[in-house]
Every structure is written in C-alpha cells, then in structure tokens.
Symmetry: C2
Subunit: 688 residues, 2 copies
Amino acid sequence: MLRSMDTMRTLLFVSVLVLLATLGAAQPQPPLNVMPMPSVVQLGAGQLAIDRSFSIAITGFRDPTVERGVQRFVAQLSQETGMLLKNKSVESANPSLLIHLEHGRQEVQRLGEDESYELTIGESGAKLNASNPLGVLHGLQTFLQLVEPGMNGFTVPAATIKDQPRFAWRGLLIDVGRHFIPVDVLKRNLDGMAAVKMNVLHLHLSDDQGFRVETKKFPKLHEMGSDGLYYTQDEIRGLISYAYDRGIRVLPEFDTPGHSGSWFVGYPELASSPGPFKVDPEGPDSVTDPTREETYKFLDKFLGEMAKLFPDAYFHIGGDEVNGQHWDKNPKIQAFIHSHGMKNNQDLQAYFNQRLQKILAKHHKVMIGWDEILHPELPKTIVIQSWRGQESLAAAAKQGYSGLLSFGYYIDLMWPASRHYAVDPMSGAAATLSPEEKPRILGGEACMWTEWVTPEILDSRVWPRTAAIAERLWSPQATQDLNSMYARLEELSWRLDWLGLTHRTGRFQMLHRMTGTYDIAALRTLADVVEPVKDYARMDSVKGPWDFRAPLNHLIDAVSPESDAARHFSAQVEAYIQSGYKDQAAESQIRALLTTWRDNDTKLHPVLNQSLLLNEVAPLSQDLSALGVAGLHALDDLDKSEPSPESWRTEQLALVERAKTPKANLLLMVVVPVQQLIESSAGQRPKS
Amino acid sequence: MLRSMDTMRTLLFVSVLVLLATLGAAQPQPPLNVMPMPSVVQLGAGQLAIDRSFSIAITGFRDPTVERGVQRFVAQLSQETGMLLKNKSVESANPSLLIHLEHGRQEVQRLGEDESYELTIGESGAKLNASNPLGVLHGLQTFLQLVEPGMNGFTVPAATIKDQPRFAWRGLLIDVGRHFIPVDVLKRNLDGMAAVKMNVLHLHLSDDQGFRVETKKFPKLHEMGSDGLYYTQDEIRGLISYAYDRGIRVLPEFDTPGHSGSWFVGYPELASSPGPFKVDPEGPDSVTDPTREETYKFLDKFLGEMAKLFPDAYFHIGGDEVNGQHWDKNPKIQAFIHSHGMKNNQDLQAYFNQRLQKILAKHHKVMIGWDEILHPELPKTIVIQSWRGQESLAAAAKQGYSGLLSFGYYIDLMWPASRHYAVDPMSGAAATLSPEEKPRILGGEACMWTEWVTPEILDSRVWPRTAAIAERLWSPQATQDLNSMYARLEELSWRLDWLGLTHRTGRFQMLHRMTGTYDIAALRTLADVVEPVKDYARMDSVKGPWDFRAPLNHLIDAVSPESDAARHFSAQVEAYIQSGYKDQAAESQIRALLTTWRDNDTKLHPVLNQSLLLNEVAPLSQDLSALGVAGLHALDDLDKSEPSPESWRTEQLALVERAKTPKANLLLMVVVPVQQLIESSAGQRPKS
C-alpha cells in the first residue's frame, strides 16, 4: 500500500504541524504502570500480595472464553512471578480475585459490544466486574500490568479502576501480501494486541506480490498468485478462534480493483490488460476489469466463499490507488464508460464498488474500503478507512459515512511513538463535527505495511510503538503526557517479551548474523543510536525496481524505528543545559556516553571492514566517534567556563551538518544534542 | 536423582585431580568454528559464497529424513543470512551443495549406525557424502556452523572434513519427573542436541515427584501420580518422530524399585510399606515391593505397553539409590529374603532386576540401569550407566558389561564447561582396559536433574555447557585445547539462539521480573559476575524439606552456571600480570570493569531495597563494589610502581576472604583475580 508519494508528503507536513500544536496540551497522569491508561483511576492505600496461595473465583454467567482467559492469566502470572499458581478457578469464599460476569458475548464478536470493566483492588482481595466477557478479558490485562515485585514478594497496588474504551474500533492492519507472515507470528502479535486492548486484526490478504488465502473455488488464486506461502482455510479458522478468545475481531481485506495483480496470474481474464502475468518483484502490472459481467460472477462466488470463512460483519475491499492507465488504454473499457454515461475512471470505480457492495450485502457483509471508494452513489452503510487524514474522514462523516483513521498511524514510516500518539481521530476537521456526526468516527487502525518487513523483523516494527496508538484509541482524549507515555511504554515493552514477541531480542540475532561473532558490543553501541530513515525515503533510495524478495539483513533492518538511547541522551543534555551546566549527574552520564562513542569506531572498524553488510555503515561509525570527540571538547570548555574557540565551533558545526545526512538509510539520532553542547560552549549561558 | 552426598563428594574430589592431570595435555586445534570439532580437518584456500542463488541437489538414495533435514537446513540458512533461499532441492548440474547418500537408515534408529560423513568445500561448490542419512544430517550441521559473513556477503571457508564420532552413544538425560518439561521445550532442546551431534535423549519419566507418561493400562499412574502434567501417548509419538528426524534416539527411564513413589499414589499395593500415599513435596516415601508376584504381573503389563510406545531397543529401569529401610522394616520381605537364601537387600534388588530383565527381554528390550544394578547374576547384555565414575565403569567392562559414563557430566552441579570437558570416559581405570574390553564403553550422557530447574530455566542449565560434553563424546580424545573450546562454545551459543533456545535471553526476562522495571543494567552487572554455588550446596542450604513446588525466581535461578565475564576478566588480569604490568590494553579494560563494579552498588542499592527477591543479594553487591575499589587502588599503586601499604593489603585480603563466602547461594567469581591484583601490588613483580 504505497500511497502516492507527493500526496503523502503534503499530508506528512500537515501532520507535523498538528503534532507541534498538540504537544502543548500534555496533562499529568497518575503513576500507574498501565497502558493504555484506564478512563478513571483512583489509587488506594496498601497493596494486594500475590503469593502461591493466589486464587480466583468466577461468579455470575459462565463463559468459556472467560474460563480460557483466566487460564492464560494464571499461566502468565505464574511466568511473571516465577511462582507456580493454581491453574484453575476455585469455589473459595475468599478468593484473591473475584470475577463477576453479568452475561455472555456474541458468537461472532460485534463492533460496539460492551468492553467496560471495573477493577477494585484492596489489601485483602480484588474484584473484577464486567457485563460482557470482553470486559473481563480487558480487566485481567490491566491486573497483570499492575503486578510488581516488592519487599513482600509480588504485589498489586490498591486502586479502583473504571475503564472503557473511547473508540469501539481499535485495529492493527498487517500486510501479509508483500511479505507472508506465518500464523505463529500473527498469534504472538494477537497476544500483544490483547495486552494493549486492541480489538481488530485487519489482514491485508492480497496484493500485487501475493495472494495469501487458500480458496476452494478458485485455487489458482493462492497456488499461482503466491510463492507457495499462504494460509490454509483451517489455519484461518484457527487464527480467528485464537483472536476471538482474546476479544479481537479479524477483518479480511482483498484489495480490488487496484493492488490485485496476484489474482491475474491464475485468472488473467479478470485483468484490464492482456496477460500472461506472473508474480514478479513489483507484482503484475494491471487492474481489474470492471466492465465484464464475468468479473462479477467471479467476485460473487469468491466473496461468497470468503464471507463464510471470515465471520466478521465487515469486509474490506481495498479500493485504493487504482492505476487508471490500464482503463485508459483499453478501448472496450473506454467504450463502456461512454455508453454508461460516466465521466471518468472515478465513476467507473464507483460503479464497480456499487456492484461489489451489493454482492457483499447479499453475503451479509458491510463493505469497508480506503478513502477512494467514497462516492455519493454508494449507500451510507459502508465504512471509509482514511489514509488521507481527519479532513477526509470528517468530510465522509458529514455525508453520513462511518470512518476509521489510519492516517498518522502508518507504523512502517518509522515515526517515533510520540508522533503517532499526537494524532487524534477527533482532531482537526473532525473536531468540528456535530454531535450526530461524531459517533461516525469509529476509531482507527495502526497499519503495518510490509514492503520492508519480514516475519523476523515484524515484531520490532509493530512493538512497542503500536501501544501508543492503542492508548490514543482507548484512553480519554486528555491522556497526553509524553513523559508518562514513554515511561509506561518502556515498561510495557519488556512485559510484551513474556508473550514471545521478539521486538527486543530479535535484533541481537541479526547483529550477530552481521558480525559473525558473539561479541556484538561495539555494533550495539552504534545500532542503539541510529534510526531508519523516515517516511518513504528508503523506497526512494532504491535504484531500479523494488524487489520484495531482496534480503532484509542490513543494519537498517536490525535497528529499532525509535532510539530510546538517543531520546534519553537528548533529555540528559536538555537537563544539563537547563541546569546552567550544574547538573553533575547529568554531565557525568553525558560524558560517559560521549566517551563510549569516541572510542567505539576503533573497536568497530575491524568488524565493519570484514563484512559486506556492515561496510556501508562505516561512515556512520566515524561520525559517531567524531561527535563523541566534539561533545567531550565542548563539555571540557563548559567545565572550565571558557568559551570554545570560534574556529573550532565552525569546524564542528560543519561536521554536525555532515552527520545529519542519512548514510546506509540510517539517521544518527544524537547529532542534535551534541550540536546543542557545541553551541552552548560558545559561552552564552541560558542560566547561571 | 540426588546421589548420596558423601559418596558424591569423594568422587568429585577425584574428578578435580583428573581435571588437573588432563589440563596439561591441551593441543592446539585448527581455527574452525565448529563444535564438536571434526575428526579430520584440512583447510583449503578461498571460500564458497552463499548468495540467493544457493542450490542443493541430492543424488543416490532418496531418504525422507534427509529431504526434511535439507528443508530445515535451507530454512536455517535463510534465517542466518537473512536471504530467502529456495526451500527445495534442485536437479541442477552445478548445485552449490551436492549431497550424495549411499543407502537408507534403520526404521528405528540403532546404536552404532554409521554416522560418518565427508564434507568438501571449494570455491565453486561443496560436496557432502555419507553412507547413512545420519551422516548427511551431521554434515549439514557442520556446514551451517561454518557460514560466516564477509566482504562478499556470506561465505563458507574451503575445507575438507572427514568426520565420525568417537563414541556411538552421546546422550542428554532430562529429568521430567521433578519438574515437568513441556514438549515444545524438549523439542527446542532436541534441535540443540542435533546442532552438536548428540544422538540420545534419555527421558527420566518418573520419580517420587511425578509420573509423566499417559498409560492406558494403568491410568492412575499419570492421573494420580502427577500434578496433572504428563505427556499423552500422542505427544510421546510426536516427540520420538521429531527426534528421529534429527538422528536422535529417545530412551525412556522408569525408575524402580527406588525413586518410584509416584507409582504408589494410584497403586499402593506396589509399595513395601503401607499407604495411602500422596504426591507431596519430597514425594511418597517408599520403594517397590519385589516379593509379590502381583508386582511382576503389573510390571509385565506396564512395561509391555511402554515397550510398544518407545521403539528404542534399550529401556532404562533406573535402579539407583534404593532406600533399604522399607525392606528392612517389612517382616514379609525379610522372610522372603531368608527363605530364598539371599544375604541382603542387594541380593533382593538383583533378584528384582533379574525378573525385570526377563520381562524386558520378552518385550524385545535391552535393559539399562544405574551402577547399582550391576550384579554377577545378571546377563552380560545389560548396560550400566555410571554416576559413580570411570572405575565403576571399567569394573563393569572387565566383567563383560557395556557401560555409559555420566559421572562428571551432571550439569545440574553448576560446574564450568572446562571441568566437564576434562572428564573422559576412557581415562582413569578405563584407560587400562584391554582391546576387547574398551569397546564396551559405549559413550556417555550429560544429566540434567531438575530439582532446581523449571521449563523457564532449563535451557540456561543445559546450554551451552552441554556442547563441551558433546565434543568430548564426538571428537578425537586429543581434542583438548581449552581456549579453542571456549572460543567455539561462545560462537555456538549465539547460533543456538536461532533454534529458539532461551539460554541467553531467558535470564533477562527473569531479571526484569525481579526488578519490576525495564532498566536492569545494574542488576546485570552483578548477575554477570556471579555463579550459583556448586555441587549439592544449594540443596544442603535448604532448611526443612525440599519442596519441588517452591518458586524458582531468585537471582540464582537467573544467572548462568558459568560466568563468561568473570572468565574473561581473569584472563585479562593474568595477561596484565604476565606482561609485567605493561599490557596497557589489558589494564585499561581491567580498570573499566573495576570502575563499573565500584560504582554499581550505588545504582543497584535502591532496587535491591525494594524487592524481597533481590534483598538477599545486597551483601554480594557491596562485596563487588568493595572489590572494585580495592582493585583500582592496587592498579594505581602498580601504575606508580609503589608497593601498596602492607596494612592496606591485610585489610583488603580480609575483605577478599569474606567475599569468597557464598551469599544467597551465589559465588562472586571475580574475587580471585582481584586478590591477584592486590597481592601483586606488594611490589614483587613476576617479570619486568
């Protein structure tokens, strides 16, 4: 889903302005290690001890997903405390945790089912009340996150929590078309989603590079339209049931009429241009022909089969980025446009979508598509997913359409969590909607497009940043404190480790692979302070056609989208400067890091010179060492209260500018704070 | 399998002497990153490039386990290079790797099947030849370990390798009785075993604390004799087939007449003392009654069922550590002994074993048991597994019995890899065996007893140290170079990461659990330089009865049995002293570490004071910082070429002695090198 670059760039620029505007509105939050932050939290006195006698009782309605959820909860709690706890709920009169459930849940999870819960934790026990099993599942996740070690073993702080989501649709899209993502990787990501109370896994199941679901009616779709990597129908059913147990809906997307090249390899008659087609690096270059009746017969049968396989009430047909050239060039299609009184390709796509919508309605599905499907001739029941932004979303809502925001939540763009966090579905144009229109904004979805993502890399691209988006969609709009968010995000990140997610550990294997040695310390020092280039810069840097089969085994693939080390270093430099250069603890930490960086290139150089994969980052390593030297020099001058020589500063600031240029598609994230130190050494003290 | 403490202590002492005797015999090895080291290696010139065109062809005999082995090989190679390689073998005339297989393998893997292979790697391609599929599987593991990054992407060095095992039986025992170990954990350990060419997984399936296999004939064994954690027969079959695919036999052990308390919970009539029994912390306290005919009827039916479930030709009946008190106290049993003309309980156990051996022979199994089953009345076909040592093993061999060494390979005793590595099945008394007797020493087994091991901890106790034992059993006896072993062990350790083993990463989760925070840097600094107490010291420290259900969530459970950091530090101090205090690189690294330790307690102190689990290690943290201060002081004096004051040294050496005392069952492993620095600072320079 490579959105048009120019449009996207304009949108990104607007987004930065929104970000800057929002940063001022930060509000402090209670010191509770939960993410997403619950709606209402009242901290109590004392704490509940978790020891080997910990027990759970369930009263009220008996629901099998709650039973299984409690079993997972106990297993997780056992793991996180190292104490083997009873894995069954008891009939005890005084359980440590008493769960009360009012009623059952829908057989197929519905949008807008009650997800609220109340969790009351006291010194003698905890109570978790919910109307719907979904609330119990969410409450258990909150409880788990509250467990911490203490002088009495493990404890949970006393608190009263009343919680419910702000938006009913909190999704994560995973593109399994560009790179196939195996079921076990999806499952551990579903565990991660459940931990942060997300409730929709949107699978982008087909694209030009691959068709990823077995179909019985049209087997050439998955057989010829993929490299052999696809989900069997049994696997899909297993995945849906796994998701249901965790309170998560699975939304299928089969993109059409664009992004559908993989369909044409087995069924060239569906295409608008003549075949034959094959799955090649960029995917077959054509779009669906909406003028042939056979296309709709095919779609009716195909969508009918998929509508049964995926029980969710919604069905996503993509509809984005249709390359009109193939329609322009086909005389029959042009004739069809004219004979039907259409003005242009947009009208033709609207005609196609109307037909699709009727087919889906016949199969009892609500149609969703990207911004491009919006057209007054389509019924108001459809849902618009917006990659274009709040303005597009608001325009749709004003016309009566429901919508989801994904603009600002493209996690493949390598933005920091703070930037995603600042994007609110109800901000900008959406803020001006009327009380009837506002509820049409259903929520949003983080989008993990996988042009540059393999199963090995996926976790590190999704986590932990997606938790910031999950919080934006769950917590009250006023939840804005960035320091709180980052502190909780770092805590959450290691808790996600327990679920088998590899976002923290996977990269060490990749660094080992690059160095071919167990000693990766020097490479880690560099890797910790760089980030991949942002937005579409990596795609722009490709010479020749992009190839989805290219090895993703370079340093850029192994580093985190956001450098925690650089963020912490920036904060220390900020604190040091703000203190009028008097904060000795900060200075000592800054000095230690600068020293490590100064000395790092000497250590790393021999390794870089032995490996093709690493050779390309040699200039980055040199820059880092040079910044270490310059920063230490600046600190020395600041210590002596002597202004640094101007000629030296000029030279160093030129170095800084050079170090700002991406190398090997990587950005050195400590350049700006070192620049601040150099500039400060000129002697204009902010405070004294 | 808690062997009698006093006997074991004497044996350990002998083992240290053997170790010291062996260390002198070290021989240099070729610089090849393979473990175990192959029998014959000849390095060539140049290297074979591994790129996306990498292809494999198989000629000769077609074997399905080879096909699957090649698929795993390609998947592993893809993972370790980050390049998606073709997952099918090709018919190409010029494949990158040409495998030639002579014939098939036994349907049930047999002891002594040909495991040899020849691997020839040149610049234009590699050839792997083997008679038996087992050789191909081993050769592929060797190839994988040779892959390294370089300036042309990934490469394998040109070499000619002729390889075969020294011993035919190279096992790992996992005790799943004390703590149940789930199938997925066993599977990843089977992957680890295959990587180091081990070929027997010995499952200790029942003990006082649990009976771990489903039986259809006597369901009360697993239902009442466990906490609900056992393997279904389907799971066992799956595990055996998984192991077979990797060239590994699965040997079952059902320990009797001792260590069999879990049997009596459901079947009290089997016991020598009156029931009822229950699975309690130390397990039911009784032993099997060998005097009742019903016992043998039971065993015939039970062993018949298990003999079918486990296809291996061998069957282990335990037979160790029988508590004779229960026989002494039972008048009927004493009467039986007298009426049958037996002298003592040993004779009674021999009678029991003879009966057992006949039952097993009827079910086509060869009986194995621990040292205690050795008795002249048993046929020479049985195999003795020795926890007592080479002398016991040699004595058995002289009497015509085959044997396996496990003495010296008890990996639960927390020895360093070097100490296990020095234990050779053919050393000591075994070295004096005649040419006919020597082949009776079949090999050995590493033993992972799990009194202090949960599934979470297992990998870190098994790996990487077990690879040193695997090398002892596979490679030529002259393979002894400790530096080479450790260098290759560290490389292997991160390669094992790719198999999903958690020996490196699992402990970080445990440290996080203890601190309740994402910042575990200070705790890691401490954890990196401590080791658990050795031998049975932890068990000795338990006040009251040992409880297998006790939480294993303390620092001792999270640290490695062997501290790499301490070993490296010792080597640096050694190099520094040997250089006459002139090795500046060594000194600078020593100084950096001492400084980190000096400053660490201040950082760690607040964390330790907040956690019950960590509070107990506060004195260790203080010791480490004090050693840092002392070591730095000594370095300063050495730098100034001034002898340190004697009073200071006396004081510091007293500190050193205190720091040698275990605390929280942990040993600080950097005490001795710091002591060397302090002593050196007196001014007697070894060289100058």
